[in-house]
Amino acid sequence: MNAKVVVSLKDGILDPEGQAVASALGRMGFDEVKDVRIGKVIEIELEDGIADAEVRVKQMCEQILSNPVIEKFHIQTEQS
């Protein structure tokens, strides 16, 4: 069983990394780039046959993988 979690900054929060990349792309001639935001994908490999996998992954997200003050998360689980 695998879970994929995407953690990204909430909307109003400054993303300095995204800004730096956007302006670098602009300097390199990619004028069509309007904005860039950068987040994390966390791929978690779980033991097989975990009953409440989704619940557990959600707990992980809330407890350690993200900080709700500045970040939001999104979970996809997939049977492998």
Partner: protein, 738 residues
């Protein structure tokens, strides 16, 4: 914001009282507009307005022949000789760090660095003073590790070495950690910059990052009704730092000043544009007109009040003469920063806010700054102080001092903080000649013979048990740390972290601590040149230990004449400077080993404290000492262990000749003030004794350096590697325990 205040007036939700609102009505002669109300609410907050502290802060001695700038500007400045001056200040970022420790601590560093830039100084060193709950709690470990990573992440990136600090764990900080950061900057004395606005008609330029909705969570109630539920997410209360932009801001600001393009410079901190513009106008005794529509925004649809109080990081405000605007823009562009004229200086002392062609606010400048409401809260001696037993020393008798010593040596408050400063680039700028891990760090000033020593100190357990004496001891300890390196204490900054000042017991702590600090400063002849107050450090109604952190800077005329804390060579003679009394009240030993936090705390004779520092400093600069280390938490036993570890060499101590009648526990762990542990070569020992006699300071020869064990009489005999490992790995061990 919740709906609980459905019946509460808007001003109350913004933190203003009914009488404060009445003051606003009287000042304006009408109801405030939305922007005006927002501006008053942030400027009259405790954080900006110093409502409960201002009256007491006047007690501090702030003058001295070396003071170029005392409190009142962005940072204090002292003359350090050869045409050089040093600006420094300490500031708290406690509440943001409790919510988001990485970003909270990082932006704390960013904020204090901008205060230093605003004085026209290049930041050359940082210190961080950290206090958390008990290290056994996973939550505390998380806060601690993230705060350290945040400080490192910011300071390392901007290329300013973090050379020292403090780290203290105690349950009183469980729900309210303290993150205080201090920055020191270097400037030519004749290039001192002010924030005071001057020149009617001069443009006001905002440069640095764009403005977003950062840090205005608390004022969200002002959002117009069309805003839908969930929109408060768009007004984060936590700011994210961008150290890269800060680095550009440092370079751009210094280049602007170097080219003499600016009339005045000011950073944007708490309360954003509102406070920086108001302060500039207020200091210059004039008025200012800003156009919120001109402010470059990061997000669309921001309302005027949002623009005015946004706390977006990495921004500076400058006053320039009209003909220099183009040159200013050019310098900013070179550094990749936006620079925009957002306003102009006006004659009347008014703060006018326009949104394009509409006037949306007009406030008398001084009503935001000097004329902010001030309170003189009630003060009352807390019961816990009266209840303290007269002496706790008799409680302690032990037949396993060796075990207790190891236990203490590996405890979070005593163990080496190397795992912290290892994460800080403390060597960048190639000036750090005494690295972290000794009493104070030393920075050389390239191109001169001079150096600076710096330290931050506060034993908050002492301040809790006895605020007056605890305040004195904080200054005295800082002076000892600076003197141990051979430097002369020059001036201090402070960060006064306390609970809710509206509680009489807290205000009593505050008043007494200030009195103690002031008396000690007078005795040592060091002025207070800058500082910061952080109140309401409480959780669930319980206050932190009162923690007036002292940041001290000392000067060295010859930076090659310094001393470190580590023992050096076989056969060197070891001396204990100062008397040891039975003073275990409030000690680390009592607290950690016996879980007792009771007074009385050690006594302090300010005259002796100063004379002892003077003597040790004179010994360091005359070159007779091979090591010098001050005694503080953990007493003599811990000082001996640290000198062994830092020198990677053993020592043999014999206390029988010290002539004092103390139990072994008292001899080892008593925290009597005004003491140092020093060593000399065989031949220099007598010269040192003579010097001490001249200064009238009692010194006892207590042993010899050498071997690969730490031995104290018959009570302690520990292999050096055991001592080293216990001390070096203490913090990691506590973290792994859980």
């Amino acid at each position: 914001m919740s709906n609980t205040g459905a019946t509460a007036p808007l001003y109350e939700e913004l933190g203003l009282t009914a009488s404060e609102y009445q003051m606003i009505l009287e000042t304006l002669g009408r109801e405030p507009t939305q922007v005006e109300l927002a501006m008053y609410s942030v400027m009259w907050s405790e954080h900006c307005g110093y409502k409960h502290s201002r009256s007491m802060l006047g007690r501090f001695p702030t003058e001295g022949e070396k003071v170029l700038q005392g409190p009142g500007e962005n940072a204090g400045v002292i003359d350090v000789g050869d045409g050089w001056a040093v600006a420094f200040k300490m500031e708290s970022h406690n509440h943001p760090s409790a919510v988001e420790p990485f970003q909270g601590a990082a932006t704390g560093v960013g904020g204090i660095v901008r205060d230093i830039i605003a004085m026209g100084a290049r930041p050359i060193a940082l210190l961080d003073s950290l206090r958390f709950g008990s290290l056994e709690s996973p939550r505390v470990q998380h806060l601690f590790e993230e705060a350290v990573a945040g400080i490192g992440g910011y300071g390392n990136c901007i290329g300013v070495p973090t050379v020292g600090g403090e780290l203290f764990f105690d349950p009183s900080y469980e729900g309210n950690c303290l993150v205080n950061a201090m920055c020191i900057g270097l400037l030519r004395a004749d290039q001192l910059t002010s924030a005071a606005a001057a020149g009617v008609g001069n443009p006001v330029i905002l440069f640095g990052s764009r403005t977003g909705r950062d840090g205005i969570g608390g004022a969200s109630v002002l959002a117009s009704q069309e805003f839908k539920e969930g929109d408060e997410e768009k007004r984060p209360s936590v700011q994210v730092g961008d150290p890269f932009t800060e680095k550009l801001l440092i370079e751009a600001s210094l280049e602007l000043l170097d080219k003499e393009l600016l009339v005045a410079l000011q950073d944007l901190g708490a309360a954003g544009l509102t406070s920086s513009a108001a302060e500039m106008a207020s200091l210059g005794g004039m008025g200012i007109e800003l156009d919120v529509a001109a402010v470059p925004l990061r997000e669309s649809g921001m309302e005027p009040w949002e623009v005015m109080i946004s706390e977006s990081q990495e921004r500076m405000l400058a006053v320039v003469t009209p003909e220099k605007v183009a040159a200013v823009t050019e310098v900013c562009e070179k550094w990749g920063l936006t620079a925009t004229q957002v306003g102009v200086l006006i004659e009347d002392s008014e703060f006018v806010i326009n949104d394009g062609s509409d006037e949306v606010g007009r406030i008398p400048v001084l009503s935001l700054t000097d004329d902010c409401p001030k309170y003189q809260p009630e003060s009352k001696k807390p019961d816990y102080i009266e209840a303290s037993v007269p002496s706790v020393a008799t409680v302690f008798s032990s037949d396993s001092v060796e075990d207790e010593l190891l236990d203490l040596l590996g405890s979070p408050n005593i163990a080496s903080k190397r795992s912290v400063w290892d994460q800080y680039d403390h060597m960048v700028m190639t000036n750090t000649t005494v690295l972290p891990g000794h009493d104070a760090a030393v920075i050389r000033l390239k191109g001169t013979d001079r150096g600076l020593a710096m330290t931050s100190d506060c034993n908050s357990r002492y301040v809790y048990l006895d605020p007056l004496k605890g305040g004195m001891i904080a200054v005295a300890e800082a002076a000892r740390n600076v003197s141990a390196t051979g430097a002369t204490p020059a001036a201090i900054t402070d960060c006064l972290n306390f609970g809710n000042p509206e509680k009489p017991e807290i205000y009593w702590q505050f008043k007494n601590a200030i009195e103690g600090i002031s008396q000690a400063c007078e005795a040592f002849g060091v002025p207070v040149v800058s500082g910061n107050v952080s109140f309401y450090n409480e959780s669930n109604g319980a206050a932190i230990y009162p923690t007036p952190t002292i940041g001290m800077v000392g000067t060295l005329d010859d930076v090659t004449k310094t001393c470190e804390s580590g023992f050096r060579s076989d056969g060197d003679r070891i001396f204990l400077v100062g008397d040891t009394l039975s003073e275990l009240g409030g000690s680390e030993y009592a607290s950690h080993v016996h879980n007792i936090v009771e007074g009385p705390i050690p006594s302090l004779d300010l005259g002796v404290a100063k004379a002892t520092c003077d003597m040790v400093r004179s010994a360091v600069s005359s070159g007779v000492l091979k090591s010098a280390h001050d005694l503080s938490e953990g007493g003599l036993a811990i000082a001996v262990a640290e000198s062994c570890v830092n020198g990677a060499i053993g020592a043999k101590i014999d206390l029988s000749s010290s002539g004092q009648e103390l139990s072994i526990v008292e001899s080892l762990f008593s925290e009597t003030q005004s003491r140092f542990l020093v060593s000399t070569s065989q031949s220099d020992g007598d010269g040192f004794l003579k010097l001490a006699e001249e200064f009238g300071i009692r010194v006892a020869e207590i042993g010899e350096v050498g071997g690969d064990a730490m031995q104290i009489g018959s009570a302690v005999e520990l292999p050096l590697d055991v001592v080293c490992n216990t001390y070096q790995q203490g913090i990691q061990k506590w973290i792994q325990k859980t």
